[in-house]
Amino acid sequence: MARISDVTDASLRGELTAAEQSLDEGDYDESVRRSAAIYQRILTERPDLRITRRAGPAVLSAINGRPIQPRFQPWPDNLGVTLTFDDNEQPLMKFMKDDFMMSEAITYFEHTLDAAVRVQEEPPPEQTGERA
């Protein structure tokens, strides 16, 4: 189970610490903004790990007859922050509201923290020689 101390990238660890600090201080709006920014950064740096939901089930290409499952759980779109992609396929976080509750901020923080740790477990394709 992910903890901030598991994150090896120092700047990412610092950003996550700040997001959690906002959470602990009761500034849930700021915590959500920070978590969303971190997640957007992760997907910008690692486009190979995006869940391409737009493409639908067809995106699950078959290797050796077995479908590939998405690596991440999808971003929780139904809590007020929506993940979109611009015309250059870059991730964008769209805020549908400005005020967030503790439970929403926790959900976004934990989701982002889990993603930050999973990113370390999935080396980029150029390092493994695999195609994404």
Partner: protein, 402 residues
């Protein structure tokens, strides 16, 4: 480890008619009360009743406070849990929830477990015009205020995003102070972790495996220790996990009697998520048609190769399978030991899915409670010692039945 049974009052339509016979629903309700009475006598610790609305065949328990009150009158020790109350105010106004929870706590002599939740399906939430993107926030606001209402005299009033009310004294007050133990439905990992940070119990409706729970329970208790802003006035550090259970002398008999109910459970829930032919579909008939067709069997075999990774889909997948608790006492016991090692506080069992026969359920309960449960009860003191270590340093009051 403690044990509970949990009900949806599933009421499949009959095969020989388009809708239920006149007494079908009443039969299910009254049989459930008999099962609870037996469970209480056999030493089961909890009974939880779900709350769903408009989900035909899947759950006819739309007013759990009524059934729990009936159960209170027929039992002595078993704790009476809402698994859960749907807290968005458009479904249940928090003052009415406070009134009902407190009243049930009084008539049951302090045995209530206050499970809370956001609601799930568009069918239900849409029936009350609750927007999906607001349900978590609505849950939080309503639950926090409901707990204050149970404790404050008077309640000073509230101007919120999802409800408002002037100053009033919400009565009666519960026997358990400052309020009964609070839980939240946690089918997703993040919700369980949120429960830890908020100091409330987590009912894991994701049909989690022991491996998943080992990690989550450890992290949950870590977050409990670090909790800065509990949701209620007392914490309920507790993790419950759910499974489909049917116990019979042999695995073969358990599967013959119990597997169809589990398969139907998964089928009808999936049906509710996608089909909105209110009042018209015979879902049980459709389930049997698909299950019994050869093409369907081949498709099922292919589909069972891989468990979905999406948590909601995975819960649905596991809901409809044999899992760890449909079998002989030995089969169930061996699997339960893994959950015990994962330090789950409470296992909750669905015993009444689909058309599982009442007599079989009663025998299953008897067998489970006499041949499986005792060793876990005997060892529960070890779990409590472990739990004391986990809670060392917690600064907030605790009200928990674990």
């Amino acid at each position: 480890m403690k044990f509970g049974i949990t009900f949806q009052l599933q009421t499949p339509r009959p095969l020989d008619a388009d809708t239920w016979h006149d007494d079908d629903e009443q039969k299910i309700f009254m049989q459930a009360l008999d099962q609870i009475e037996l469970a209480d006598k056999l030493g089961i610790d909890y009974v939880f009743f779900n709350e769903h609305h408009f989900l035909e065949e899947y759950c006819h328990d739309s007013a759990p406070e009524v059934v729990l009150a009936a159960a209170a009158a027929r039992t002595k020790n078993i704790r009476l849990g809402h698994g859960i109350v749907q807290m968005p105010p458009a479904v249940n106004h928090p003052a009415r929830v406070a009134e009902r929870i407190s009243s049930l706590d009084i008539v049951s002599n302090g045995r209530v477990e206050f499970g809370t939740g956001e609601g799930a399906t568009p069918t239900e939430l849409g029936g009350f015009n609750v927007e999906q993107k607001e349900k978590k926030a609505a849950w939080e606001e309503a639950t926090r205020e409901c707990l204050r209402m149970m404790n404050m005299s008077p309640y000073p009033g509230f101007e919120g995003r999802y409800f408002s009310m002037p100053e009033r004294n919400v009565i009666p007050k519960p026997i358990q102070k400052p309020h009964p133990p609070v839980w939240v439905a946690a089918s997703r990992r993040e919700t369980m972790l949120a429960a830890g940070r908020m100091g409330i119990g987590a009912i894991g409706f994701g049909f989690d495996t022991p491996g998943e729970l080992t990690e989550r329970v450890a992290r949950y208790y870590e977050l409990i220790r670090g909790s800065r802003r509990p949701l209620g006035l007392a914490m309920n550090p507790a993790v419950a996990s759910v499974g489909n259970m049917h116990c019979a002398p042999t695995n073969e008999q358990a599967i013959a009697e119990g597997l169809e109910g589990a398969q139907y459970f998964g089928f009808v829930f999936g049906w509710m998520a996608g089909h909105l032919n209110h009042g018209r579909d015979n879902i049980y008939r459709e389930f049997r048609r698909r299950r019994d067709s050869e093409a369907s069997a081949a498709a099922q075999e292919k589909a069972t190769e891989m468990e979905p990774t999406d948590e909601s889909a995975r819960a649905l997948y596991r809901m409809g399978r044999r899992g760890a608790f449909i079998g002989s006492p030995e089969f169930i016991r061996n699997n339960l030991r893994q959950y015990e090692e994962a330090h789950v506080d409470t296992m909750l069992f669905f015993c009444q899915p689909g058309g599982r026969k009442h007599e079989d359920i009663m025998e299953s309960l008897e067998l489970f409670c006499t041949k499986v449960m005792p060793e876990f009860k005997d060892r529960h003191y070890l779990h409590q010692k472990w739990r004391e270590e986990q809670l060392d340093g917690v600064k907030f009051p605790i009200n928990s039945s674990i």
